[in-house]
């Protein structure tokens, strides 16, 4: 049951599980996916889910309404007791030019959450930084990097493909990450 005390993580698990029950896979992306990996770093009051199908299915939407979410503007859903909003974005999952076809799965008791893999999550935040000079997204990328310590090479290769300033971006990423607490458990 979602109420005013439910956290973004609680809601992300609940919504993803509701869709999964009807065979629909939705994948958490954006800043909230980053804060799953680095909870202390990035706060957002919105959940961005990517759907690779244009019709969610009546059963899944009914399930969403059972959780207390009602349709709002565009593809967004709002809850009467909780300020957190959900946005469903239809289409392929793209990070810059790269098509994402695999994602991470987290389980919590009987619930499931699909979200970007840690390296993709870092690239997703770097995309926001590169294309909008959003330095908060760079901080989020650095926090995920510091927390999860992935191989840097796929990130470098992605930056090269995106024709980014590779050295400056990686130097900034690593410089901020060096100041962020690490968590070897993740």
């Amino acid at each position: 049951m979602i109420d005013s005390s439910s956290t973004l993580t609680d809601i992300a698990f609940a919504v993803c599980t509701a869709f999964e029950k009807y065979g629909k896979t939705i994948v958490l992306t954006g800043g909230r996916a980053a804060s799953i990996y680095a909870p202390e770093q990035y706060q957002s009051r919105n959940l961005d889910f990517m759907m690779r199908f244009s019709v969610a299915g009546k059963e899944a939407l009914d399930e969403l309404q059972k959780l207390g979410f009602e349709p709002s503007e565009g593809s967004m859903y709002k809850h009467s007791k909780n300020p957190i909003t959900i946005d469903f974005i239809v289409g392929d999952i793209l990070i810059g030019e790269r098509l994402i076809q695999e994602w991470a799965t987290m389980r919590r008791q009987a619930q499931v959450l699909f979200l970007l893999k840690r390296t993709d999550c870092i690239c997703d935040r770097l995309a926001s930084y590169l294309y909008s000079n959003d330095l908060s997204a760079l901080s989020a990328a650095a926090a995920v990097y510091a927390r999860t310590q992935p191989d840097i090479e796929p990130i470098r290769e992605w930056l090269i493909r995106e024709k980014a300033d590779v050295d400056q971006t990686l130097n900034r990423l690593l410089s901020i990450a060096s100041r962020t607490p690490q968590n070897p458990k993740l």
Binding site: D134, A137, N171
Partner: protein
Amino acid sequence: MSRKPKELHLPPGSELFGTKTATTLIQLVYVLKDTYAKELADLTGLGATTVKNQLSNWENTGIISLRTVGRQRMVTLNPRFYAINELCALLERMVLQNPEILEIASAKRSRPRKTGKEI
């Protein structure tokens, strides 16, 4: 009798542009790329007059350029400054040495936001 050396707590280079305030501001103008006086004041906690005076000094020396967009005076490093590449290289090196500047600047959200979406 030997004099005790003055204790310095500031990181190296933190007063390179005259004062700590000026050095912080020029680094912020560099990393934000496009900013304005109020935003710089909000990010740093400095007074608006302090920020405007500093920007005015730099405009006079040609380091920054200002242009009016709507009712806002937007500030950027002056791309026609004779040593702009060297200045950017120095500022980048300073930012990497002191990434706190990137964290201060990260309080500004600059990516697009869908209408009606919560922050």
